[in-house]
Amino acid sequence: MAGYFKSIRDGFKLRNFTNYILIAAALILFLILELTGVLRRSHANLLAQVGFSIILAVSLNLVVGFLGELSLGHAGFMCAGAYIGCFVANQLHKTSLPPLVTLIVAMAVGGIVAALFGFVVGLPALRLKGDYLAIVTLAFGEIVRNICKNLPWFGGAMGLPTEQYGTHLFIVAFAVVLLMLILTQNLIHSKHGRAITAIRDNEIAARAMGINVVFYKLFVFVFTAFFAGVAGVIYGYYTTPVIYSSFTFNYSIEILVMVVLGGMGNITGSILSASLITVVNFVLQSNLSGDQAAIKYLVYALILMVTILFNNAPAFRPIKEKIGLQAILSRVRKKFGLKHPSENPEEIVDDSAKWHRIPTKIKMDSILSTDLKPADDGTLEPDPRQEDKHE
């Protein structure tokens, strides 16, 4: 029992709570603004949008940043959740349930249905990885969209009309964000999170450690699909109608841009970049007209390419060591005589989930996950010292 209290004290370090404090502070601030009547309606709507964007980005980060698989079908999960959750909500609105209860029930149903879809998408993940899995998730997202478009209950090509929740939607959205952050971060800092990152870093070694790779891959897909579905329901309440054409591949990419910009495996980064991109989008949308809207996609494209090239290309490594964020931070720390927690010998740091260079966890031409077949045993392996270096 003594050990229990000792480690609880360990857990109360402020830096483990930055994300919660960030979200809670934002929520309280905007709540005050709302109650004093300063907050404009359009801004309250924007906040709800920021809320579900954070949910989407953090949940996608769990797949891309922590499990190390690329999912291009995140909008598909969201689509499933939005349609089904809002369909249920429309039925419940006919009864006398209070709107908040309806919303919560809708979120739960939308999330669970999306989680089921996540399970279905997770099944190919047991056999495939890398590019192939990415294409399967993309295909899956398109299938969901195509079916939703043609189902008569969902309003077909006109979309599904939904009830609006009003300006207080952002409070619910932020509450869900907080809940999701707690669950996600707790998961990551447990043996299960370690297993997930181990699969990302080296699947073969992870299997050899007795990790049930099948279980964890499915688990991550189900978990993230659930929250994408919940985000979909919030989306449905934020805008009407819910229409299949909102959940295109482009939307999945927009979420991916948030993850890449914020840093893979970096949850605070995802929160900040999701907020930033959503707000910038909002500003651009109200200022750019017609074809100029493409500037947004131009920026997305540059974010994806520059971030990935900067972090992964061997040619950029010397530059990165000079002007990269990490380098600048460590120089600042040095200047003020501060130490990074990991430099303190007494400290036990568990933030190594963050990573910048994407690990070369699979041999270039290996696509199958479970179907391990040997190369003839004797062919020379590359010199182990050079295994992780680039050509």
């Binding site: 050990g3 857990g11 447990s190 043996k191 990152t197 927690p341 010998p345 690990p359 004797g378 020379l380």
Partner: protein, 258 residues
């Protein structure tokens, strides 16, 4: 440990298509033994490891760990029954800290069982287990002199320490049998000598049986009690080290016929 043999393979073999990678292998390894598996490149040594750890399913034959038939079990099951391994080309979790690497090794240990819900909601059991896991992992790191490095990323360790970390991680799975795949590859003679000491002391502290693949004959000669020589997937010779290494057939296999 009543069983006289810790690992026994009976006519173990595997074929890939037409290639007979390993044929009729019979190993008999006693508890606490340091056993060597040697042979030229392409002899099928790593394939044997892959069969023993459940990566490949043997085409025929069986193997028994402490009397229990583990043939064709999954990697997860062989790990749980007590077979751990290291890899020829180091396979650490590079983007994770040294401590976290070892804690992954503790993952399947029934003593730290804690389902995802307990972890997500941080129930008291989570703290108890997490704490115990950190302590256990640090103990292991301490044995290899790596505790001071525990917050560094695994990929930032020098090569020799990476090898050690891989062994520590394998030990974390609490094995009865440890399989080391070329532990001295890429090491200089001094590092190799150090490694020999480490392997011996690991065997003694953990009361382990160790089966190792090695090309460095000084290491094999220095620590292995008995060896089996593989050539083209078949057993060429076996017995005490000194005897086997003087066997003319073995010498021919290594140096080629004239």
């Amino acid at each position: 440990m009543s069983n006289p043999l810790l690992l026994e393979t009976r006519d173990l073999g595997i074929t890939f298509g037409g290639l007979k990678a390993v044929q009729n292998l019979n190993l008999q390894i006693k508890p606490m033994e340091l056993y060597g598996l040697i042979g030229p490149n392409g002899a099928g040594k790593t394939t044997v490891f892959n069969m023993l750890t459940g990566v490949y399913k043997p085409t025929y034959g069986h193997f028994y760990l402490d009397g229990e038939d583990l043939t064709g079990q999954s990697q997860q099951q062989t790990c749980a029954r007590g077979i751990a391994r290291t890899f020829q080309n180091i396979r650490l979790f590079n983007n994770m800290s040294v401590l976290r690497n070892v804690m992954v090794g503790l993952h399947h240990d029934p003593a730290f069982k804690c389902n995802p819900l307990v972890a997500m909601f941080r129930l008291p059991a989570y703290y108890v287990h997490e704490n115990a896991m950190v302590d256990r992992a640090r103990e292991l790191l301490d044995i290899f002199g790596l505790d001071g490095e525990r917050n560094n990323l695994a990929c930032n360790l020098p090569y020799g320490k990476q090898r050690k970390l891989e062994i520590a991680r394998a030990l974390a799975t609490n094995p009865k049998l440890l399989l080391l795949d070329e532990p001295a590859a890429g090491m200089n003679p001094q590092e190799t000598a150090e490694l020999m000491e480490t392997i011996k002391s690991v065997r003694d502290t953990f009361k382990l049986t160790i089966l190792l693949i090695e090309h460095d004959m000084s290491l094999v000669n220095g620590i292995c009690e008995r060896v089996t020589v593989l050539n083209f997937g078949t057993e060429l010779a076996q017995g005490p080290v000194g005897q086997v290494l003087r066997n003319p057939e073995v010498i021919r296999a290594y140096l080629g016929t004239d």
